[in-house]
């Protein structure tokens, strides 16, 4: 279950893009998207995009995608 960005609440502030250790976040159509294939849920530390995002509930676990396995 990688993370995903709820586009309707994203302010496109860009804060998440550089903090992602997996370079999984990219700008797309005025908002940001997380590549589920690259997201590791920041295993071992707090999910960086969630930590830095200024909007509560904007970055959430994407339950439609299977959990990340090492």
């Amino acid at each position: 279950m990688p993370y995903k960005i709820i586009a309707s609440t994203c302010t496109a502030c860009t804060a998440c893009e550089p903090v992602c250790p997996n370079v999984a976040i990219k700008a797309k159509n005025g908002t940001y998207v997380i590549d589920p294939k690259k997201c590791t849920e920041c295993e071992g530390e707090d999910p960086q995009c969630v930590e830095v995002c200024p909007v509560d509930g904007c970055v959430v676990v994407d339950k439609s995608v299977p959990r990340y396995v090492m």
Binding site: T14, A15, V19, E51
Partner: protein, 501 residues
């Protein structure tokens, strides 16, 4: 190339030409007569043309912010960056984000059109140093193409210690740090969290780290001779008393100017404070705190809390004229010589104003009376705005000491399309209700009568004259009347910065 029309000459031909919300070069504001005051020649040289650092400079010179830094690394309870609409204007809000390349192009376009432009700052809409690559890339590009423009930046200070060397390398000699507290127990009520070292810190820990980093950065900058202005947001019941302590500490660490601003907290902005009914201060509360903090340190009272993409003189915002789309079509003609000529002209004009003021001050009798007055101006240090066109009034305190700029009040234009509206007039009057007189270039019969009824003397005898000299001349006459002086009630502080009509 056709010669530029330089707005400072406007006063010569500024007689009323009917009402309208557009036109003119917009609003400005005027500084107090403090001028160089007790500043060292070295500091004065650095600030004299910087509108945000010198009260006197701020009605002659313009600044622009380029919104290249959208990301932030802390959350403040007075900030919500989610909305931008034409009806609102406050720090942290922009209409358009820019890349460093677009920003540099916009700076050149504005500098070509606005000879008053002396300063380009990066103030967000997030934090300049939470976006260091974009911020410094922008500085690099501007420095290459417009080397006479001064660079400055504004930061919450969290990442400041890491970037002091780069700031120095880019010759950025003005840095603003927003410091709302020095005590984490106060800070935990202002900052719900910070993002630092790959972790979100909350509560008192967050405030402690932030305060430590701010102090470290402040000391590093001042020890290198970089001028630091400290901004503080006055939040009644949270940090209002504490700001006296903040003032003492930042002064001791070498900050050169302290700017205490009122909290903006309208519920519709959706900020934590706005939604929870936290109020902002009244003008009297703000002035009392500013007076309490004013000692040896310069206190700034002319801040307009402008947007992170503002363009123009303080108090005006011409950003709508310089959207990316419009800049792309503009023919950019960067004329360093014309810009220098304008700056030389202003230098002479300022010397004249000071000389005239000094002459007028001779013969001011000593008394305990302090009168507050409002002034309608659109810049250049003159009383040159029609009452009905004013979207803000400058407030001066007159006493035996002279004329002191103590603040500004935003109001709605009273006159739209040639006739005034009574409701608007009422709010204008309530905005300057604490004043004994209002100085204007021109005023209609009806508003004149209403002002007199409200006990505010309308004065149009000094139209297009220098502000401070005129105020002192009037004050002398006021004292000589012997009709007595009454202190008036409260004025109303209208929130948010000015945006173009």
């Amino acid at each position: 190339m056709s010669p530029k029309v330089i707005p400072i000459f406007e006063h010569a031909a500024a007689a009323s030409s009917g009402c309208g919300s557009k036109g003119g070069s917009g609003k400005s504001s005027c500084g107090s007569g403090a001028g160089q005051g007790d500043l060292s020649p070295e500091i004065w040289e650095k600030v004299k043309n910087h509108p945000c650092y010198s009260e006197q400079a701020h009605h002659h010179f313009a600044r622009m912010h380029v919104a290249v830094a959208p990301a932030c690394n802390i959350q403040c309870n007075y900030c919500n960056r989610k909305y931008d609409c034409s009806n609102e204007s406050r720090p942290g809000v922009v209409s358009e984000k820019l890349t460093p390349e677009l920003a540099a192009k916009k700076v050149l376009a504005v500098a070509s059109e606005v000879p008053q432009l002396t300063v380009v700052g990066i103030a967000g809409p997030g934090d300049a140093l939470a976006n260091p690559e974009k911020t410094f890339k922008t500085f690099e590009l501007i420095q290459k193409s417009a080397p006479d423009i001064r660079l400055c930046l504004s930061t919450n200070g969290l990442m400041l210690p890491d970037h002091v060397q780069t700031i120095q390398d880019f010759n950025v000699d003005h840095v603003t740090i927003t410091i709302n507290m020095v005590d984490p127990e106060v800070g935990e009520h202002i900052y719900p969290w910070i993002y630092y070292n790959r972790k979100r810190w909350k509560g008192r820990d967050a405030a402690r780290i932030l305060a430590e980093r701010q102090m470290e950065g402040l000391e590093m900058l001042t020890s290198r001779g970089i001028l630091v202005k400290v901004n503080s947001v006055m939040i009644p019941g949270i940090n209002d008393q504490h700001l006296v302590e903040v003032n003492r500490i930042v002064k001791s660490k070498g900050a050169f100017l302290h700017n205490i601003m009122p909290l903006i907290s309208e519920a519709e902005h959706g900020t934590f404070y706005g939604l929870n009914g936290q109020r902002g201060p009244t003008p009297q509360e703000l002035k009392t705190l500013q007076d309490d903090c004013e000692g040896e340190m310069n206190l700034m009272r002319h801040c307009r809390q402008c947007r992170a993409d503002a363009v123009g003189l303080l108090g005006e915002d011409r950003s709508a004229e310089f959207t990316t789309e419009k800049v792309a079509e503009m023919e950019v003609n960067y004329d360093a010589q014309a810009r220098q000529a304008y700056q030389n002209f202003v230098e002479k004009e300022r010397a004249d104003q000071q000389a005239a003021l000094q002459t007028e001050l001779a013969g001011l009798v000593s008394s305990d009376i302090k009168a507050l007055v409002a002034v309608a101006t659109k810049g250049s240090g003159r009383i040159n705005e029609h009452f009905g066109h004013a979207s803000e009034f400058q407030i001066y305190e007159l006493s035996a000491e002279g004329a002191k700029f103590v603040g500004h009040r935003r109001v709605d234009h009273y006159c739209e399309g040639g006739y005034g509206e009574d409701e608007v007039l009422e709010t204008v009057i309530s905005g300057i209700n604490d004043c004994n007189a209002v100085f204007v270039a021109k005023i209609g019969r009806c508003p004149k009568d209403d002002l007199e009824k409200a006990g505010i003397e309308p004065v149009d005898a000094y139209a297009h004259e220098y502000i401070e000299q005129s105020l002192i001349a009037w004050f002398k006459e006021y004292l000589a009347r012997g009709t007595g002086h009454t202190e008036r009630g409260e004025g109303r502080l209208r929130q948010g910065a000015y945006i173009a009509a």
